[in-house]
Protein backbone atom coordinates (compact mmCIF):
# COMPACT_ATOMS: atom_id res chain seq x y z
CA UNK A 1 0.00 0.00 0.00
CA UNK A 2 1.31 3.41 -0.94
CA UNK A 3 3.01 5.09 2.00
CA UNK A 4 1.60 8.46 0.96
CA UNK A 5 -2.01 7.30 1.19
CA UNK A 6 -2.43 7.97 4.93
CA UNK A 7 -0.86 11.46 4.92
CA UNK A 8 -2.82 12.34 1.78
CA UNK A 9 -6.23 11.28 3.15
CA UNK A 10 -5.45 12.70 6.61
CA UNK A 11 -4.60 16.08 5.05
CA UNK A 12 -7.73 16.00 2.88
CA UNK A 13 -9.81 15.12 5.94
CA UNK A 14 -8.28 17.93 8.02
CA UNK A 15 -8.86 20.53 5.31
CA UNK A 16 -12.35 19.19 4.53
CA UNK A 17 -13.44 19.15 8.17
CA UNK A 18 -12.11 22.70 8.68
CA UNK A 19 -14.02 23.88 5.59
CA UNK A 20 -17.19 22.06 6.61
CA UNK A 21 -17.04 23.51 10.16
CA UNK A 22 -16.82 26.98 8.58
CA UNK A 23 -19.70 26.24 6.20
CA UNK A 24 -21.88 24.66 8.88
CA UNK A 25 -21.51 27.48 11.39
CA UNK A 26 -21.10 30.54 9.19
CA UNK A 27 -22.83 29.79 5.88
CA UNK A 28 -25.58 27.19 6.32
CA UNK A 29 -28.83 28.80 7.52
CA UNK A 30 -30.55 27.89 10.77
CA UNK A 31 -33.17 25.19 10.35
CA UNK A 32 -36.72 26.45 10.64
CA UNK A 33 -39.95 24.75 9.71
CA UNK A 34 -43.41 26.22 9.88
CA UNK A 35 -46.82 24.70 10.19
CA UNK A 36 -49.88 25.85 8.25
CA UNK A 37 -50.67 28.54 10.82
CA UNK A 38 -47.31 30.17 10.09
CA UNK A 39 -45.79 29.40 13.49
CA UNK A 40 -42.77 27.23 14.21
CA UNK A 41 -43.73 23.61 14.52
CA UNK A 42 -42.38 21.08 16.95
CA UNK A 43 -39.68 19.74 14.64
CA UNK A 44 -37.77 23.02 14.35
CA UNK A 45 -34.25 22.41 15.62
CA UNK A 46 -32.71 25.85 15.03
CA UNK A 47 -29.04 25.83 16.15
CA UNK A 48 -29.18 22.22 17.31
CA UNK A 49 -29.53 21.14 13.70
CA UNK A 50 -25.76 21.82 13.34
CA UNK A 51 -25.28 18.38 14.94
CA UNK A 52 -26.93 16.84 11.87
CA UNK A 53 -23.96 17.45 9.54
CA UNK A 54 -21.56 15.37 11.63
CA UNK A 55 -24.02 12.85 13.04
CA UNK A 56 -25.25 11.81 9.59
CA UNK A 57 -21.74 12.03 8.09
CA UNK A 58 -20.50 9.52 10.66
CA UNK A 59 -23.61 7.34 10.21
CA UNK A 60 -22.96 7.11 6.45
CA UNK A 61 -19.42 5.84 6.96
CA UNK A 62 -20.38 3.64 9.89
CA UNK A 63 -22.63 1.76 7.48
CA UNK A 64 -19.91 1.93 4.81
CA UNK A 65 -17.33 0.53 7.23
CA UNK A 66 -19.63 -2.31 8.27
CA UNK A 67 -20.19 -3.20 4.60
CA UNK A 68 -16.43 -3.13 3.90
CA UNK A 69 -15.86 -5.33 6.93
CA UNK A 70 -18.62 -7.78 5.95
CA UNK A 71 -17.53 -8.06 2.31
CA UNK A 72 -13.87 -8.45 3.30
CA UNK A 73 -14.88 -11.17 5.74
CA UNK A 74 -16.73 -13.00 2.96
CA UNK A 75 -13.55 -12.66 0.89
CA UNK A 76 -11.47 -14.01 3.76
CA UNK A 77 -13.77 -16.97 4.45
CA UNK A 78 -13.92 -17.93 0.79
CA UNK A 79 -10.19 -17.50 -0.05
CA UNK A 80 -8.50 -17.68 3.38
CA UNK A 81 -6.27 -14.87 2.21
CA UNK A 82 -5.23 -13.02 5.40
CA UNK A 83 -5.09 -9.68 3.56
CA UNK A 84 -8.89 -9.71 3.45
CA UNK A 85 -8.90 -10.27 7.18
CA UNK A 86 -6.59 -7.29 7.71
CA UNK A 87 -9.05 -5.03 5.89
CA UNK A 88 -12.04 -6.44 7.78
CA UNK A 89 -10.32 -6.01 11.12
CA UNK A 90 -9.20 -2.43 10.37
CA UNK A 91 -12.61 -1.41 9.03
CA UNK A 92 -14.37 -2.84 12.09
CA UNK A 93 -12.08 -0.95 14.45
CA UNK A 94 -12.95 2.30 12.68
CA UNK A 95 -16.64 1.32 12.62
CA UNK A 96 -16.57 0.98 16.42
CA UNK A 97 -15.25 4.55 16.70
CA UNK A 98 -17.74 5.93 14.15
CA UNK A 99 -20.59 4.02 15.80
CA UNK A 100 -19.70 5.56 19.17
CA UNK A 101 -19.86 9.02 17.58
CA UNK A 102 -23.22 8.25 15.94
CA UNK A 103 -24.76 6.97 19.18
CA UNK A 104 -23.39 9.81 21.30
CA UNK A 105 -24.26 12.66 18.93
CA UNK A 106 -27.67 11.09 18.21
CA UNK A 107 -28.41 10.87 21.91
CA UNK A 108 -27.39 14.50 22.43
CA UNK A 109 -29.53 15.51 19.46
CA UNK A 110 -32.47 13.59 20.94
CA UNK A 111 -32.07 15.47 24.19
CA UNK A 112 -31.95 18.82 22.39
CA UNK A 113 -34.84 18.11 20.04
CA UNK A 114 -37.17 15.82 21.98
CA UNK A 115 -35.88 16.19 25.55
CA UNK A 116 -34.96 12.50 25.87
CA UNK A 117 -31.47 10.98 25.90
CA UNK A 118 -32.64 7.58 24.68
CA UNK A 119 -35.76 5.72 23.55
CA UNK A 120 -36.03 1.94 23.37
CA UNK A 121 -37.49 2.02 19.89
CA UNK A 122 -36.52 -0.50 17.15
CA UNK A 123 -34.14 1.77 15.24
CA UNK A 124 -32.13 2.97 18.21
CA UNK A 125 -32.06 -0.50 19.71
CA UNK A 126 -30.88 -2.00 16.40
CA UNK A 127 -28.17 0.66 16.12
CA UNK A 128 -26.97 -0.15 19.62
CA UNK A 129 -27.02 -3.88 18.84
CA UNK A 130 -24.99 -3.30 15.68
CA UNK A 131 -22.42 -1.37 17.70
CA UNK A 132 -22.31 -4.16 20.31
CA UNK A 133 -21.75 -6.72 17.53
CA UNK A 134 -18.80 -4.62 16.34
CA UNK A 135 -17.41 -4.40 19.87
CA UNK A 136 -17.91 -8.18 20.12
CA UNK A 137 -15.90 -8.60 16.91
CA UNK A 138 -12.97 -6.70 18.44
CA UNK A 139 -13.14 -8.75 21.66
CA UNK A 140 -13.35 -12.06 19.76
CA UNK A 141 -10.29 -11.16 17.71
CA UNK A 142 -8.38 -10.38 20.87
CA UNK A 143 -9.43 -13.28 23.12
CA UNK A 144 -10.89 -16.15 21.02
CA UNK A 145 -7.61 -17.91 20.29
CA UNK A 146 -6.48 -19.55 17.02
CA UNK A 147 -9.90 -19.54 15.31
CA UNK A 148 -10.64 -15.91 16.23
CA UNK A 149 -10.34 -14.64 12.68
CA UNK A 150 -13.03 -17.01 11.37
CA UNK A 151 -15.45 -16.42 14.25
CA UNK A 152 -14.92 -12.66 13.87
CA UNK A 153 -15.54 -12.90 10.12
CA UNK A 154 -18.91 -14.53 10.82
CA UNK A 155 -19.79 -11.71 13.22
CA UNK A 156 -18.85 -9.08 10.63
CA UNK A 157 -21.18 -10.68 8.07
CA UNK A 158 -23.94 -10.78 10.70
CA UNK A 159 -23.43 -7.07 11.38
CA UNK A 160 -23.50 -6.21 7.68
CA UNK A 161 -26.85 -7.98 7.23
CA UNK A 162 -28.33 -5.80 9.99
CA UNK A 163 -27.50 -2.49 8.30
CA UNK A 164 -30.39 -2.45 5.77
CA UNK A 165 -32.85 -3.09 8.62
CA UNK A 166 -31.55 -0.06 10.51
CA UNK A 167 -31.74 2.05 7.34
CA UNK A 168 -35.31 0.89 6.78
CA UNK A 169 -36.27 1.66 10.37
CA UNK A 170 -34.94 5.23 10.24
CA UNK A 171 -37.99 7.46 9.95
CA UNK A 172 -40.41 4.93 11.43
CA UNK A 173 -40.44 6.83 14.72
CA UNK A 174 -39.44 10.25 16.01
CA UNK A 175 -36.18 10.09 14.03
CA UNK A 176 -36.18 12.12 10.78
CA UNK A 177 -36.91 10.01 7.71
CA UNK A 178 -34.33 8.49 5.34
CA UNK A 179 -34.61 7.51 1.68
CA UNK A 180 -35.93 9.44 -1.30
CA UNK A 181 -38.34 11.49 0.83
CA UNK A 182 -35.91 11.75 3.73
CA UNK A 183 -34.06 14.65 5.27
CA UNK A 184 -30.89 14.25 3.19
CA UNK A 185 -32.77 13.93 -0.11
CA UNK A 186 -34.87 17.01 0.61
CA UNK A 187 -32.17 19.25 2.11
CA UNK A 188 -32.59 22.96 1.25
CA UNK A 189 -29.96 24.24 -1.23
CA UNK A 190 -28.28 26.34 1.47
CA UNK A 191 -27.54 23.26 3.57
CA UNK A 192 -26.74 20.78 0.81
CA UNK A 193 -23.15 21.92 0.04
CA UNK A 194 -22.14 21.98 3.70
CA UNK A 195 -23.59 18.53 4.23
CA UNK A 196 -21.91 16.82 1.28
CA UNK A 197 -18.52 18.46 1.97
CA UNK A 198 -18.82 17.16 5.52
CA UNK A 199 -19.68 13.66 4.23
CA UNK A 200 -16.70 13.72 1.83
CA UNK A 201 -14.40 14.88 4.64
CA UNK A 202 -15.47 12.00 6.85
CA UNK A 203 -14.88 9.60 3.97
CA UNK A 204 -11.27 10.86 3.80
CA UNK A 205 -11.01 10.55 7.59
CA UNK A 206 -12.36 6.98 7.41
CA UNK A 207 -9.89 6.07 4.62
CA UNK A 208 -6.93 7.57 6.50
CA UNK A 209 -7.81 5.60 9.63
CA UNK A 210 -8.54 2.34 7.81
CA UNK A 211 -5.39 2.45 5.68
CA UNK A 212 -3.28 3.28 8.72
CA UNK A 213 -4.90 0.45 10.67
CA UNK A 214 -4.48 -2.00 7.78
CA UNK A 215 -0.78 -1.13 7.54
CA UNK A 216 -0.20 -1.71 11.25
CA UNK A 217 -2.32 -4.91 11.27
CA UNK A 218 -0.37 -6.24 8.30
CA UNK A 219 2.94 -5.35 9.92
CA UNK A 220 1.83 -7.09 13.14
CA UNK A 221 0.87 -10.21 11.22
CA UNK A 222 4.14 -10.34 9.26
CA UNK A 223 6.09 -9.82 12.46
CA UNK A 224 4.20 -12.64 14.14
CA UNK A 225 4.86 -14.95 11.18
CA UNK A 226 8.57 -14.09 11.18
CA UNK A 227 8.82 -14.77 14.91
CA UNK A 228 7.10 -18.15 14.46
CA UNK A 229 9.43 -19.03 11.63
CA UNK A 230 12.45 -18.01 13.70
CA UNK A 231 11.25 -20.19 16.54
CA UNK A 232 10.66 -23.11 14.18
CA UNK A 233 14.15 -22.78 12.75
CA UNK A 234 15.67 -22.51 16.19
CA UNK A 235 17.11 -19.05 15.44
CA UNK A 236 14.93 -17.47 18.16
CA UNK A 237 14.16 -18.70 21.61
Amino acid sequence: MNKFAVPLFATLAAVGIAVSVYLVFFVAPLEYSYNEAGTFNGSSLFFNQKIFYFHVGHAFWLFGAVFVSGLSSIGFLSTRDPRWDDVASASTDVAVAFGAVVLLTGSIWGKAAWDVWWQWEPRLTMSLLLWLVLVGYVLVRKFAGPSADRIAAGMAIFGMVGVPFIYKMVGQSSHPAAGSQGVVATLPPGERGSFWISVASFLCWYLALVISRVQSTRAERELRELRERGLDLGVLQ
Binding site: L30, F40, S44, F46, F47, N48, K50, I51, F54, H55, H58, D93, V94, A97, A100, V101, L104, T105, I108, W109, K111, A112, W205, L209, S212, R213, S216, A219, E220, L223, L226, R227, G230, V235, L236, Q237
Partner: protein, 194 residues
Amino acid sequence: MTLLMKMMKWTNGIARWGVVFVLVLVTFAGVALAQPAPGSTPAGDPAGSTAAAPADSTRATPGTSTTSPTAPTSPADGDARKACTTAMNADPKFAADMIATLHDIERTADPKLAAEIIATVHDMDTIKVHTDAMAHVQKNEQHVIYAYAAMWIVAALFVIFLWRRQQALQAEIATLRRDLEAAADEATADKARS
Protein backbone atom coordinates in the same frame (compact mmCIF):
# COMPACT_ATOMS: atom_id res chain seq x y z
CA MET B 1 -111.79 92.71 -3.52
CA THR B 2 -112.40 92.34 0.14
CA LEU B 3 -112.46 88.59 -0.36
CA LEU B 4 -109.16 88.83 -2.23
CA MET B 5 -107.64 90.84 0.61
CA LYS B 6 -108.86 88.24 3.12
CA MET B 7 -107.41 85.37 1.10
CA MET B 8 -104.02 87.08 0.88
CA LYS B 9 -103.93 87.63 4.66
CA TRP B 10 -104.86 84.00 5.15
CA THR B 11 -102.13 82.72 2.85
CA ASN B 12 -99.63 85.05 4.52
CA GLY B 13 -100.55 83.53 7.81
CA ILE B 14 -100.12 80.03 6.44
CA ALA B 15 -96.78 80.99 4.92
CA ARG B 16 -95.65 82.51 8.20
CA TRP B 17 -96.64 79.45 10.15
CA GLY B 18 -95.14 77.29 7.42
CA VAL B 19 -91.85 79.05 7.75
CA VAL B 20 -91.99 78.60 11.51
CA PHE B 21 -92.84 74.93 11.07
CA VAL B 22 -89.95 74.38 8.64
CA LEU B 23 -87.57 76.15 10.99
CA VAL B 24 -88.68 73.90 13.83
CA LEU B 25 -88.17 70.82 11.65
CA VAL B 26 -84.71 71.94 10.59
CA THR B 27 -83.80 72.58 14.21
CA PHE B 28 -84.97 69.14 15.29
CA ALA B 29 -83.15 67.54 12.38
CA GLY B 30 -79.98 69.40 13.22
CA VAL B 31 -80.18 68.39 16.86
CA ALA B 32 -80.95 64.81 15.86
CA LEU B 33 -78.04 64.68 13.44
CA ALA B 34 -75.73 66.19 16.03
CA GLN B 35 -76.47 63.33 18.44
CA PRO B 36 -74.20 60.20 18.14
CA ALA B 37 -76.07 57.06 17.23
CA PRO B 38 -76.12 54.33 19.85
CA GLY B 39 -72.89 52.20 19.59
CA SER B 40 -71.30 54.48 17.00
CA THR B 41 -67.79 55.94 17.38
CA PRO B 42 -67.33 59.50 18.52
CA ALA B 43 -66.46 61.87 15.72
CA GLY B 44 -62.77 62.68 15.37
CA ASP B 45 -61.50 59.51 17.10
CA PRO B 46 -59.23 57.84 14.52
CA ALA B 47 -58.81 54.64 16.47
CA GLY B 48 -62.38 54.62 17.61
CA SER B 49 -62.07 51.76 20.03
CA THR B 50 -61.04 50.69 23.47
CA ALA B 51 -57.77 49.46 21.97
CA ALA B 52 -56.74 53.06 21.53
CA ALA B 53 -57.27 53.74 25.19
CA PRO B 54 -53.92 52.44 26.50
CA ALA B 55 -51.85 54.58 24.19
CA ASP B 56 -54.02 57.63 24.75
CA SER B 57 -54.42 57.17 28.46
CA THR B 58 -50.68 57.17 29.10
CA ARG B 59 -50.44 60.57 27.54
CA ALA B 60 -53.43 61.89 29.50
CA THR B 61 -53.58 62.60 33.18
CA PRO B 62 -54.69 59.51 35.09
CA GLY B 63 -58.44 59.35 35.40
CA THR B 64 -59.20 61.67 32.48
CA SER B 65 -59.75 59.11 29.74
CA THR B 66 -62.87 59.84 27.70
CA THR B 67 -62.97 56.78 25.48
CA SER B 68 -66.00 54.56 25.73
CA PRO B 69 -65.67 50.85 26.69
CA THR B 70 -67.32 49.56 23.53
CA ALA B 71 -66.18 46.36 21.84
CA PRO B 72 -63.68 46.63 18.92
CA THR B 73 -65.57 46.69 15.65
CA SER B 74 -63.45 48.27 12.91
CA PRO B 75 -60.36 46.92 11.09
CA ALA B 76 -58.32 49.68 12.69
CA ASP B 77 -58.76 47.97 16.04
CA GLY B 78 -56.21 45.27 15.24
CA ASP B 79 -53.69 47.84 14.00
CA ALA B 80 -54.10 49.93 17.11
CA ARG B 81 -53.68 46.87 19.32
CA LYS B 82 -50.58 45.81 17.42
CA ALA B 83 -49.12 49.34 17.63
CA CYS B 84 -49.75 49.37 21.35
CA THR B 85 -48.17 45.93 21.83
CA THR B 86 -45.12 46.95 19.82
CA ALA B 87 -44.73 50.14 21.80
CA MET B 88 -44.98 48.24 25.07
CA ASN B 89 -42.48 45.60 23.98
CA ALA B 90 -40.05 48.25 22.75
CA ASP B 91 -40.06 50.27 25.97
CA PRO B 92 -40.50 48.46 29.31
CA LYS B 93 -40.80 51.83 31.10
CA PHE B 94 -43.68 52.78 28.84
CA ALA B 95 -45.39 49.48 29.65
CA ALA B 96 -44.87 49.99 33.39
CA ASP B 97 -46.22 53.55 33.20
CA MET B 98 -49.21 52.32 31.29
CA ILE B 99 -50.01 49.62 33.82
CA ALA B 100 -49.79 52.18 36.62
CA THR B 101 -52.13 54.42 34.68
CA LEU B 102 -54.54 51.58 34.14
CA HIS B 103 -54.63 50.87 37.84
CA ASP B 104 -55.51 54.54 38.38
CA ILE B 105 -58.32 54.23 35.84
CA GLU B 106 -59.52 51.11 37.58
CA ARG B 107 -59.75 52.97 40.86
CA THR B 108 -61.38 56.10 39.51
CA ALA B 109 -63.03 56.12 36.12
CA ASP B 110 -63.73 52.97 34.22
CA PRO B 111 -63.00 49.70 36.07
CA LYS B 112 -64.34 47.46 33.32
CA LEU B 113 -62.13 48.96 30.63
CA ALA B 114 -59.09 48.91 32.90
CA ALA B 115 -59.65 45.24 33.85
CA GLU B 116 -59.91 44.30 30.19
CA ILE B 117 -56.68 46.07 29.31
CA ILE B 118 -54.80 44.71 32.32
CA ALA B 119 -55.83 41.18 31.26
CA THR B 120 -54.35 41.89 27.82
CA VAL B 121 -51.11 43.05 29.43
CA HIS B 122 -50.92 39.83 31.44
CA ASP B 123 -51.43 37.86 28.20
CA MET B 124 -48.49 39.77 26.80
CA ASP B 125 -46.39 38.61 29.75
CA THR B 126 -47.28 35.02 28.83
CA ILE B 127 -46.36 35.69 25.22
CA LYS B 128 -43.05 37.15 26.37
CA VAL B 129 -42.28 34.00 28.39
CA HIS B 130 -42.89 31.88 25.27
CA THR B 131 -40.89 34.25 23.08
CA ASP B 132 -37.96 34.08 25.50
CA ALA B 133 -38.18 30.26 25.53
CA MET B 134 -38.14 30.16 21.74
CA ALA B 135 -35.12 32.49 21.65
CA HIS B 136 -33.36 30.16 24.08
CA VAL B 137 -34.05 27.15 21.82
CA GLN B 138 -32.89 29.10 18.77
CA LYS B 139 -29.57 30.05 20.35
CA ASN B 140 -29.03 26.88 22.40
CA GLU B 141 -25.36 26.05 21.89
CA GLN B 142 -24.98 23.67 24.81
CA HIS B 143 -26.00 20.46 23.02
CA VAL B 144 -24.05 21.32 19.89
CA ILE B 145 -20.94 21.79 22.04
CA TYR B 146 -21.60 18.43 23.75
CA ALA B 147 -21.97 16.68 20.38
CA TYR B 148 -18.80 18.20 18.94
CA ALA B 149 -16.88 17.42 22.11
CA ALA B 150 -18.06 13.79 21.91
CA MET B 151 -16.98 13.56 18.26
CA TRP B 152 -13.51 14.98 18.90
CA ILE B 153 -12.98 12.93 22.07
CA VAL B 154 -13.81 9.68 20.24
CA ALA B 155 -11.54 10.68 17.33
CA ALA B 156 -8.71 11.57 19.73
CA LEU B 157 -9.11 8.28 21.64
CA PHE B 158 -8.99 6.32 18.39
CA VAL B 159 -5.85 8.15 17.23
CA ILE B 160 -4.25 7.50 20.64
CA PHE B 161 -5.21 3.81 20.29
CA LEU B 162 -3.58 3.69 16.85
CA TRP B 163 -0.47 5.47 18.13
CA ARG B 164 -0.11 3.05 21.07
CA ARG B 165 -0.49 0.07 18.73
CA GLN B 166 2.21 1.57 16.55
CA GLN B 167 4.47 2.05 19.58
CA ALA B 168 3.89 -1.58 20.62
CA LEU B 169 4.69 -2.72 17.09
CA GLN B 170 7.96 -0.78 17.06
CA ALA B 171 8.91 -2.23 20.44
CA GLU B 172 8.20 -5.72 19.11
CA ILE B 173 10.32 -5.05 16.00
CA ALA B 174 13.18 -3.84 18.22
CA THR B 175 12.94 -7.01 20.34
CA LEU B 176 12.94 -9.22 17.26
CA ARG B 177 15.93 -7.38 15.81
CA ARG B 178 17.81 -7.80 19.10
CA ASP B 179 16.97 -11.50 19.20
CA LEU B 180 18.09 -11.93 15.59
CA GLU B 181 21.35 -10.10 16.24
CA ALA B 182 21.96 -12.24 19.33
CA ALA B 183 21.25 -15.39 17.30
CA ALA B 184 23.56 -14.19 14.54
CA ASP B 185 26.32 -13.42 17.05
CA GLU B 186 25.89 -16.84 18.63
CA ALA B 187 26.09 -18.52 15.22
CA THR B 188 29.28 -16.55 14.39
CA ALA B 189 30.80 -17.55 17.73
CA ASP B 190 29.90 -21.21 17.12
CA LYS B 191 31.58 -21.04 13.71
CA ALA B 192 34.70 -19.46 15.20
CA ARG B 193 34.85 -22.11 17.90
CA SER B 194 34.51 -24.95 15.43
